[in-house]
């Protein structure tokens, strides 16, 4: 066991999997020689050589498209998109090929591909560097999408992603890359993709969140005075979503609040609210609520606080849903 940041946990996992499995290759813009703009892949090229760890031209479509080809021809590509906001030029390859090859070939070609992308806001960055694009992956059949919120889960989910026969989009909330350390086992382990985690048990309200926001939420909850007990769920996997865990919880608490950095319309909260409606309607003691960004372009840093989810907003939303009476 060692104390590790989120970023170190990912780096160590890549190292471990490359060591164990010669078919794992790591690449992306600046991901080779310098180890990526965040240094997530630092040291890997030196250790495993330029064939297995390499810089690519600036060409997101080719990064994803070549990963498709590599996977078909015996490799396990772990590709990096420098920021999730730059995945758009590669979205054609993701949605039309990566997600579909298995179905298109009636199971002949599985694509064990992992696409890593730093995501989310809170780092005072330029335009296109702060997006939360969960919906664009979770809406596409055939993709998996995970978002760890702790170093432990980062390692476990990334290990699972690399071993997964299906393509996995691996979101890395960049705000927490270096925010705090946690004990992470040296040896290999997996965290199951598709399973949410109950972070805190409770009976009166279910709050669902994930990624960096979940971390802030934990602090906010610690500072929130109430005699009600709150169940906190870290969704961890956005697709395939563990809505069953959320629904079970809501059946118990009767109240659901989903908190994220996404824009509002068509976000994970809407889908969860829909599923809860479909399967736990009779249990609802209050209308499910969502707290998220607005339906606007993420503002540049001087205005980003408007869009961001801070403790005040969280407390406000919690008070509101707890206070709801039919």
């Amino acid at each position: 066991m060692a104390q590790m940041t989120f970023l170190q946990a990912i780096n160590q996992t890549l190292d471990q999997q490359m060591e164990k499995d010669a078919s794992v290759v790591v690449f992306g813009e600046d991901a080779g020689f310098e180890g990526g703009v965040f240094r997530v892949t630092a040291g890997l090229q030196k250790k495993y050589g330029e064939d297995r760890v390499f810089d690519t031209p600036i060409a997101e479509a080719a990064i994803i498209g070549s990963a498709v080809g590599m996977a078909i021809n015996g490799l396990k590509p772990v590709a990096e998109i420098q920021f999730s906001g730059f995945m758009f030029p590669g979205y054609n390859q993701i949605a039309m090929h990566l997600a579909r090859f298995r179905n298109r070939s009636r199971g002949k070609y599985n694509l064990p591909v992992v696409i890593r992308m730093p995501m989310g806001g809170g780092v005072r960055a330029l335009e296109h560097h702060s997006e939360s694009l969960e919906t664009l992956f979770a809406h596409i059949p055939g993709l998996k999408l995970v978002v760890p919120s702790t170093p432990y889960d980062a390692k476990g989910l990334l290990t699972a992603a690399i071993k997964d026969p299906d393509p996995v989009i691996f979101f890395e909330p960049k705000k927490i890359y270096r925010a705090g350390k946690q004990e992470v086992p040296e040896e290999e382990y997996t965290v199951e993709i598709g399973k949410a985690k109950i972070v805190q048990k409770g009976d009166d309200l279910t709050i669902v969140s994930w990624g960096a926001v979940l971390r802030d939420l934990q602090k906010a909850l610690a500072n929130y005075k109430t005699d009600k007990s709150i169940e906190l769920i870290d969704l961890r996997t956005i697709a395939p979503m563990d809505s069953a865990a959320v629904i079970d919880s809501v059946k118990k608490t009767g109240r659901l609040l989903v908190i994220s950095e996404q824009v509002q319309s068509f976000n994970v909260a809407s889908e969860l609210m829909a599923r809860v409606n479909e399967e736990a309607f009779e249990y609802l003691e209050a209308p499910p609520q969502r707290l998220n960004g607005f339906d606007i372009t993420v503002p540049l840093p001087k205005g980003e606080h408007h869009h961001a989810i801070d403790e005040k907003k969280m407390h406000h939303a919690i008070t509101k849903i707890l206070g709801y009476k039919i």
């Binding site: 390499f54 031209p57 479509a61 498709v68 078909i72 002949k108 055939g142 563990d242």
Partner: protein, 363 residues
């Protein structure tokens, strides 16, 4: 001197081995191909032609779906595929039925695909052909990835990919080409310049005088080849394959050819091109040219021809019958290939749908 060194695309010189009548124009360039292979090449060219004509008929009768005919482009497909090893990859666009058939895809599979069934894209084990690729240009980087994997795994293997003249305008073409070139990945790209992208003529697609010269942007060899000359296509791919295997990277081959049929069965080419033009190109039919060559070489006779055509016609008819009798996709098939393991929410959708179907039947 290599073909690519002799045929600088900026000089607009096109590589040819056989002339329009099937006579040898350049003796030294005739590739060494054994008779058995020559005959197999001819057989598959004819098979593709007949299957193509029949598919169009079936489609007109409403028995087949949309279909992208290959007529006129058989040489641009059979020459290259014959120059490959069976373990080399083919990353196609959507008009490569002839290439498919030569490289191990069964006629039944190709027909099943155009019949509208995903099982038509599940090729047999050991067949190194990717499914039909509809989004223009996106197949190039698949080939780049296949080739890169071959290279670092030190396989004796290349990836050959097809694209149309129109496809070269796409960003995906550019990215895939550049990507493969940077890593010297063993890739071969064949642009079937059939003069049109649906209704859009070649000169509205790009201002470059040849497609082959686009290779210069990637620092790789490019060459324009008579795409209706199966021997020229064979020779140039053979050479490109050797370069690729030696670690010298990709080659861009422009196969100058013509689509004799419609773009697809939903297309009416008379809107955008003249009959005379089509007639001109019919004279350059790659099959006739190759047949003349084989006849000159005493490998072929009219009698053999008659027999082959009959045999292939029967085969095509029987195959289509089988395809028509094939089972429609079941509910399980429609759901179960989305992921390796069906996730719970999707399993629920499937079960609900099955329950609905059962209920409907009962009512």
């Amino acid at each position: 001197m290599s073909i690519v060194d002799r045929f600088d695309p900026l000089k607009k010189k096109m590589f040819q081995v056989l002339d329009q009548e099937g006579n040898i124009v350049s003796k030294d360039d005739v590739p060494e191909i054994d008779d058995k292979t020559l005959l197999e090449m001819y057989r598959v060219m004819q098979l593709a032609r007949i299957a193509d004509i029949k598919a169009l008929q079936y489609q007109r009768q409403g028995r087949m779906l949309t279909f992208a005919p290959v007529q006129g482009q058989e040489a641009a497909q059979i020459g290259p595929m014959a120059a490959l090893k069976k373990t080399d990859w083919l990353s196609p666009a959507f008009r490569e039925m002839a290439a498919f058939l030569y490289h191990g895809v069964t006629l039944e599979q190709t027909y099943l695909y155009w019949y509208g069934n995903e099982f038509g894209s599940r090729f047999d084990d050991g067949v190194h052909v990717l499914p039909v690729n509809v989004p223009i240009g996106s197949q190039i980087s698949h080939a780049a990835g296949l080739a890169y994997a071959a290279k670092i795994q030190k396989k004796d293997q290349v990836a050959l990919t097809y694209i149309g003249d129109g496809g070269t305008s796409h960003g995906e073409f550019h990215e895939g080409m550049n990507f493969a070139a940077v890593y010297n990945a063993p890739m071969i790209t064949i642009v079937q310049n059939n003069q049109y992208a649906i209704s859009t003529p070649r000169h509205k697609q790009t201002k470059s005088e040849t497609i082959a010269q686009k290779a210069i942007a990637y620092g790789i060899p490019g060459v324009q080849v008579d795409g209706n000359d199966v021997l020229a296509m064979y020779a140039v791919v053979k050479e490109a394959r050797e370069r690729a295997i030696k670690g010298e990277g990709p080659t861009l081959i422009e196969a100058y050819t013509y689509r004799l049929g419609p773009h697809t069965t939903s297309d009416d080419p008379t809107i955008y091109r003249k009959d005379e033009e089509v007639e001109e190109w019919k004279k350059k039919d790659p099959i006739i040219r190759f047949r003349n060559y084989l006849i000159n070489k005493k490998l072929w006779t009219d009698k053999k021809e008659e027999k082959l055509v009959q045999e292939l016609t029967d085969l095509v008819g029987e195959t289509f019958k089988k395809v028509e009798q094939s089972q429609a996709p079941t509910v399980d098939e429609v759901f179960d290939y989305t992921y390796e393991t069906l996730p719970p929410y999707l399993a629920k959708q499937k079960e609900a749908y099955k329950a609905f179907l059962k209920e409907s039947e009962e009512n």
